[in-house]
Amino acid sequence: MTEAIRQDYEVSSVGAVRHWLVTDSRMEDITPTVTQPAAVTSLLLGTQICGTILSVTGTQSIVDFTSSMVYYQEVRNVLTYAVGAEATWGVINEGDPIYYDGSGTMPAGVKLSTSPLDAADVANPLFGFAVLHNPTDTFPKGGAAASTTEMAVMQRGAGA
């Protein structure tokens, strides 16, 4: 193949807001739910591209992969796991990294935590960062005991 100018290289429209189709069977959660966090499976664990589900259809879903988009998400305050179970928890502060956590110990409907590793000691992908929802939002959230808190998360999207 020679190094030549391609005639059909542009696929998406211009603009940094990116809503894109994803095959449901290629998602970490193959039965996705609108408004929930999404992660697309990857050959290298911890590198999954993440976003927020906007629309679920038959076999494909539309995910918002826009970098820096802020959505409200439920976040578990688990910090570490030991022998497959949650071991330590902590407060969630503004600016803390938030991970997509597929651990079986996560509460139903909750996909995000503050743990960089899952229950099997495998790397969780970085989903985004805890941010203020509005000027009157308050941090820290949670404490040294297990809790799940709704918070604004600035997603990394395709800006991994």
């Binding site: 193949m1 020679t2 190094e3 030549a4 100018i5 391609r6 005639q7 059909d8 290289y9 542009e10 696929v11 998406s12 211009v14 603009g15 940094a16 807001v17 990116r18 894109w20 189709l21 994803v22 095959t23 290629r26 697309v40 499976t41 990857s42 050959l43 290298l44 590198t47 999954q48 591209i49 494909q60 992969f65 826009t66 970098s67 820096s68 990394r156 999207g157 395709a158 800006g159 991994a160």
Partner: protein, 160 residues
Amino acid sequence: MTEAIRQDYEVSSEGAVRHWSVTNARMEDATPTASLPAAMLSILPGTQLCGTLLVVMATQSIVDFTCSMVYNHEVINTLTYNGGVANTWGAINEGDPIYYDRSATMPAGVNLSTSPADQAAGANALFGYAVLATPTDVYPKGGITTSTHDVAVMQRGAGA
């Protein structure tokens, strides 16, 4: 210098679409071709800023560094190198990370692979992720033998 508010900190205009001039000599491929992937040289291999070439001029080129922009690119399915040559190959799946690979063993005109390390065991820069080009696009692409495929890649751009 004291830690003070700067009066001249904003360089680019607002908006997340970013087309920017780059010195050709500061690119991994100093003889760039419009529509192909680009990577700037970096002090630290693996951290190169990547994008897609829009316009090539005599000494500078315009590169689209927009995070989450999707372009069709040629991707070789190399997974690992050994002794300076491609060693293992695998299917490219939707969601897999795609790297800018400078290895001399890459086919002419192909700059992207699925290998996180190049033939010299240096880190490859993450370029983006394999995504659907259209709702009828089909994955996986390729298999356990070497092959190169036209893949829609959602680029990381400046969202590193």
